[in-house]
């Protein structure tokens, strides 16, 4: 071999893979459509539909619904990573990645890091739509940024679960329909759009157990009080736990070779 190669390390391989995924997205801006359209559509629709019924007015409803839509959008953006990975696997290009002498976590991690851009766009769109509708959080801009980052972290941690799903599922359609159902159940059986107290007792138990409820509570508390709460710490710990569990599982699934 007369070409000088050095053993690529994990960080470099991941960076290259993230760059690849970013390029793919830049060449196909329609990949951003879901994270742009969905938050705007849901925020406007739900805000004006349910605002009066639930909170007595759109303005009064915004502090509830903005974090709700934000996390719902994170969920669906994270689930997009799963179907993307499945599509890549089916296209044959992963065969080539696998046959290269590089770290096996790199193609997966690269995908998920590049998808953080989708999460960022989804976050900005959600928060900006709220702002346009008149949402002015008491805690100020700094805390809006911090809650946005917490939301992105949550979405990123969740994307590892969907990545595993993408690797284990038979095809992209399975991943999509499963993700859709998960997204609907998790976001609606929570405090995202309604006060949990309004639910029947058994539903309240489920909604209180739902991790989405805790993330949304954490963000609402931060935006209302301008302080770091125990719920927020819980979200960070929980999210880190998900990554620590699901990243190795994902790599295991990737390496299965049937």
């Amino acid at each position: 071999m007369d070409i000088q190669t050095h053993r690529g390390n994990v960080v470099m391989n991941t960076a290259t893979m993230a760059y690849r995924n970013l390029l793919k997205t830049v060449h196909n801006p329609d990949r951003f459509m879901d994270v742009l359209v969905q938050p705007i559509l849901f925020m406007v629709m739900f805000g004006y539909l349910f605002g009066g019924a639930i909170a007595g007015g759109v303005q009064a409803y915004l502090p509830t619904i903005v974090p709700g839509i934000l996390i719902q959008t994170m969920l669906s953006a994270a689930s997009g990573s799963g179907s993307q990975i499945r599509e890549d696997l089916d296209s044959g290009v992963f065969d080539r990645f696998k046959s290269l002498p590089m770290a096996h976590i790199a193609p997966l991690a690269g995908q998920l890091f590049a998808d953080s851009l989708r999460l960022l766009i989804a976050t900005i769109t959600s928060l900006a739509t709220g702002y346009v509708m008149g949402w002015r959080p008491a805690a100020g801009f700094g805390w809006v940024v911090i809650s946005g980052l917490l939301a992105i972290f949550t979405g990123w941690a969740l994307s590892w679960i969907f990545a595993l799903l993408g690797l284990l599922a038979k095809n992209a359609t399975t991943v999509q329909s499963f993700s859709m159902i998960t997204m609907l159940v998790l976001s609606f059986v929570s405090n995202a759009f309604i006060p949990i107290k309004s639910l029947a007792k058994p539903m309240q138990v489920v909604a209180n157990l739902n991790p989405v409820t805790h993330v949304i509570t954490a963000i609402r508390q931060m935006l209302a009080t301008g302080s770091w709460t125990s719920e927020a710490v819980l979200v960070l710990v929980f999210g880190t736990g998900i990554v620590l569990i699901f990243a190795p599982l994902t790599v295991w699934a990737y390496n299965r070779n049937n």
Binding site: M1, D2, I3, Q4, T5, H6, R7, G8, M12, N13, T16, M17, Y19, R20, L23, K24, H27, N28, S91, G92, V93, F94, D95, R96, F97, K98, S99, L100, P101, M102, A106, N257, N258
Partner: protein, 311 residues
């Protein structure tokens, strides 16, 4: 000094659930040779290739690439070969240049080296003009060329090509063959799978015929063809009454079994020098012949002979 084999496959077996897809296949590939895996669709060629390239775990058996076990030393083994898959395994959404850059970087080339190698490969594979266009507008041939270019980034000594010309038009296929011959001339070892017999005939030094997951035959194309038999002489006689005299004449002269169907008569030749006396004898016997052909056995005959009735 014995040279290490490019590939050493021992008792390779693969089961999917209960189905035996590859059944105890063993062979070696010498350095610098072109080795063809030939077989009908679903024979297990690609499964064997996927096990050789570490993409699939064998149920039993082992594969060594230049002496390195593909399971125990997977990463070392992977650094020694390039793979071009059955379906173009390049990124559709990004340009040819970007593909080459990314795969160069993933292969561990520095940014400068990656740039230089990309330019070089774009030129070698006549992709310079389309380098920055989306792959969506690429023809099948361009895609294959890019795919091959990507496998050659590190100038691997061993190259796997899985059905390199499937789905290509004849002109592009010929171009691909020329490219493969260039690689051979530069000393690469090549393993290719194909269902086209003339492709194996054109390119391969040795061919392994795979059928139903088993290795049925291995040898040079010439050896395989000889096994089926020598050259065949065929002609049609003008009158039905001439069939029997023709058969007798051939049998006397060639000492070989003669077949006929209707007025068409055929017999095996063991040497080309037998042809002229036979033709002269036919003329002297005033047997008029037409549609005369002298045919070398093709790998098609080998293929049919070895896999007959099973598929």
């Amino acid at each position: 000094m014995t040279q290490v084999q490019a590939i050493d496959v021992q008792h390779l077996t693969k089961k999917f659930d209960q189905k035996l897809v590859v059944d105890d296949v063993s062979f070696t590939v010498k350095q610098g040779e072109v080795f063809g895996l030939l077989g009908p669709n679903g024979a297990g060629k690609t499964t064997i290739l996927r096990m050789m390239t570490t993409l699939l775990k064998a149920t039993q058996g082992s594969v060594q690439i230049f002496g390195h076990d593909t399971v125990k030393e997977g990463r070392v083994a992977r650094s020694l070969f390039g793979l071009t898959g059955q379906y173009a395994s390049v990124d559709e959404d990004i340009s040819a240049r970007e593909n080459l850059m990314i795969f160069s970087r993933l292969n561990g080339l520095s940014r400068t080296a990656a740039k230089a190698r990309t330019t070089e490969l774009l030129e070698t594979f006549s992709l310079v003009e389309s380098a920055d266009k989306s792959l969506k507008n690429f023809s099948g041939g361009m895609r294959r060329r890019l795919d091959l270019a990507v496998s050659l980034i590190t100038r691997p000594a061993l190259i796997f090509l899985d059905e390199p010309t499937t789905g290509l038009d004849p002109r592009t296929r010929t171009q691909m063959w020329a490219t493969i011959r260039d690689l051979v001339a530069q000393g690469s070892t090549i393993v290719l799978t194909t269902q086209y017999l003339d492709e194996a005939d054109q390119l391969a030094d040795r061919v392994a015929v795979i059928d139903h997951g088993k290795l049925v035959k291995i040898g040079t194309p010439t050896e395989l063809k000889q096994q089926v038999g020598g050259t065949t002489l065929q002609f049609t006689v003008a009158q039905p009454a001439e069939v029997n005299p023709a058969i007798k004449l051939l049998a006397d002269r060639l000492h070989a079994a003669v077949q006929h169907s209707g007025q068409r008569v055929s017999a095996r030749l063991t040497a080309a020098t037998q042809l002229a006396p036979v033709l002269t004898a036919l003329q002297q016997a005033q047997i008029s012949v037409s549609h005369l052909t002298v045919q070398e056995p093709s790998l098609d005959d080998v293929f049919m002979d070895l896999t007959v009735g099973k598929n």
